[in-house]
């Protein structure tokens, strides 16, 4: 083998070894990256949504009286359920239903009591005319409101109030905020008989 050929092979070998070495160094870093990225994202999200990480449900309930959802524990007692595939409810089900339902209602209370979360521009929040959602009468919808030109559902009235007394932008009917506010208002009227069309 000529010296030039040897030199060429040596150079190629070095390059290959260097490449392998670099590759080895890179690999652990790449294996680490997904976990780090996930942790990084979580930290950012927590910063943007500080109260998600905190006791926001309990804090909101401390501020405002909120009706609890129905008690579903009787469902655990009935005899047939034990042999059903779908009807075999557990305590965890009862807890889950309660907890998740309550969270939406409590979120609704937060929005209801805050001009900023409602998107209002004049510092007015729903509780200024409707403390504890008094005087909202969700049980009377649907009803024809001539001043709205159509039969209103509860969410139509909510949007009318947001646009006029609160001077904000109407919420999309299935937006998270609208669903939460509607849930809160309905919750506060627990136990009142439905009476649609009542003015």
């Amino acid at each position: 083998m000529s010296s030039d050929t040897k030199r060429a092979i040596a150079i190629v070998a070095c390059v290959v070894v260097a490449g392998v070495l670099v590759g080895c160094l890179e690999r652990p870093k790449q294996a680490q990256a997904p976990a780090a990225i996930a942790a990084d994202h979580m930290a950012q999200w927590k910063q943007r949504n500080p109260d998600q990480a905190n006791r926001w449900v309990e804090e909101e309930r401390e501020r405002h009286k909120i009706q609890p959802p129905a008690d579903n524990s009787p469902l655990l007692k009935a005899e047939q359920g034990k042999s059903h595939v779908y009807g075999n409810y557990s305590e965890r089900d009862v807890l889950m239903w309660g907890r998740e339902t309550e969270k939406l209602v409590v979120e609704g209370s937060r929005i209801f009591h805050s001009a900023d979360r409602l998107g209002g521009t004049i510092g007015v929040s729903c509780d200024m005319c409707h403390p504890d959602a008094a005087n909202t009468h969700p049980e009377t919808y649907p009803k024809f409101q001539a001043q709205m030109g159509r039969v209103a559902l509860l969410r139509d009235m909510i949007n009318w109030c947001i646009q006029h007394p609160v001077r904000g932008k109407a919420l999309a009917p299935d937006s998270p905020e609208m669903r939460a506010v509607e849930a809160y208002i309905l919750a506060q009227r627990k136990g009142i008989a439905l009476d649609y069309g009542k003015h």
Binding site: E62, R63, H64, K65, H113, I122, G123, V124, D127, M128, C129, H130, P131, D132, A134, N135, H137, Q147, W160, C161, H164, P165, H199
Partner: protein, 348 residues
């Protein structure tokens, strides 16, 4: 009316024109609702404006405009009242610029101003700006033989220090009517002692009117339509033959009688509150549920006609509605005489 045919004399002209106006379809209605007859005419009157909850003008024009409207109403009263009483909650969040805006607007009143503090004015800076503008919140004065007392009835026990709240967080907590973190209103031992002393020299038959922001009784705790030490305050007032308490905070027609004390609420210029789900005094004939499509409905201002014995006719001048008077005869008779009109849209 232009000149018409000479063959018409005045009587036939009236008859014709009555026909022209379709007077047949007409039923005479009393204009004013005042009940008192000549021999029991009031000795004097004062006007009131209350609960304006001002933000800066360029944040919320509606509230500022409403207070201006009330000032305009009072300035156009004929006869002019002896003074104008402001029932508290001039500002919404107790901020200096809100209080100053309110003070500026109220300066346009022709009659002299007597003012009382509300919780919305106080809990941002614990009354620093209020004192600068209006002096001590608790005071008394005499006018035409009647002794007037102005209390600061919205004293709250400290709930903010242990929670580490900032002044604005404290104010926002108090500003929420249904916010359960705040404490109940009280008059407090210090003021009760002051009150006892202030009333010392008055005979039992002295005409006496007490102003407080919150009602000096226990209506509904959740909304602080409530004074925790109401019993103690009422005990101080018990020896008098009759006492009138006039309060703000409730933004509605509200009437009560507890023993010798006749309670009357004030209207707000900013927005009406719903009636409390429990604890409503029997004597109250509610105002019709306000219509959301009229931003001024359920709001207004009014007058208090004071009789020589200290009892009052309370006039609620509701915007876009006929005024409603709760006459002295109504509370004096326990609700049997001079009954105000019933609402057509009840609260529910």
């Amino acid at each position: 009316m232009r000149a018409h045919s000479q063959s018409l004399d005045r009587r036939s002209f009236l008859k014709r024109s009555a026909a022209a106006l379709g007077a047949a379809a007409f039923v005479p209605v009393r204009v004013a609702q005042s009940a008192p007859d000549a021999k029991d005419a009031p000795a004097f009157r004062f006007a009131y404006i209350s609960d304006s909850h001002l933000y800066a003008k360029d944040l919320n024009d509606r509230f500022a405009r409403a207070l201006m409207r009330a000032v305009d109403d009072v300035n156009n009263l004929d006869p002019q009242p002896d003074f104008v009483f402001y029932g508290g909650d001039l500002a919404q969040l107790g901020q200096a610029h809100e209080l100053e805006l309110g003070a500026q607007i109220l300066k346009n009143l022709k009659a002299p101003l007597k003012i009382m503090v509300g919780e919305h004015d106080w809990y941002l800076d614990m009354g620093a700006k209020w004192r600068e503008l209006y002096g001590e919140p608790t005071y008394s004065f005499d006018h035409k033989g009647v002794h007037f007392v102005v209390l600061m009835s919205v004293v709250e026990a400290d709930f903010w220090t242990k929670r580490g709240l900032t002044p604005m967080q404290r104010m926002l907590t108090v500003a929420g009517l249904d916010n359960g973190v705040q404490s109940s209103f009280t008059v407090g031992a210090e003021q009760r002692a002051w009150l006892q002393k202030d009333l010392e020299k008055l005979p039992n038959n002295a005409p006496l009117i007490v102003f407080s922001h919150s009602p000096l009784y226990k209506l509904y705790k959740n909304w602080n339509f409530w004074t925790d030490d109401a019993d103690e305050v009422q005990a101080i007032l018990k020896r008098f033959e009759r006492v009138v308490v006039i309060h703000g905070h409730t933004h509605q027609i509200l009437t009560n009688r507890i023993g010798n004390i006749h309670f009357h609420g004030l209207l707000s210029t900013a927005w009406p509150w719903p009636y409390a789900p429990q604890g409503m005094p029997e004597l109250t004939i509610q105002m019709s549920r306000p219509d959301p499509f009229n931003p001024n409905d359920g709001c207004g201002d009014g007058e208090v006609l004071v009789h020589a014995d200290g009892l009052v006719d309370k006039v609620y001048s509701l915007w876009n509605r006929n005024p409603i008077t709760v006459a002295k005869g109504y509370t004096a008779s326990g609700g049997k005489e001079c009954v105000p009109p019933k609402p057509n849209r009840p609260s529910y």
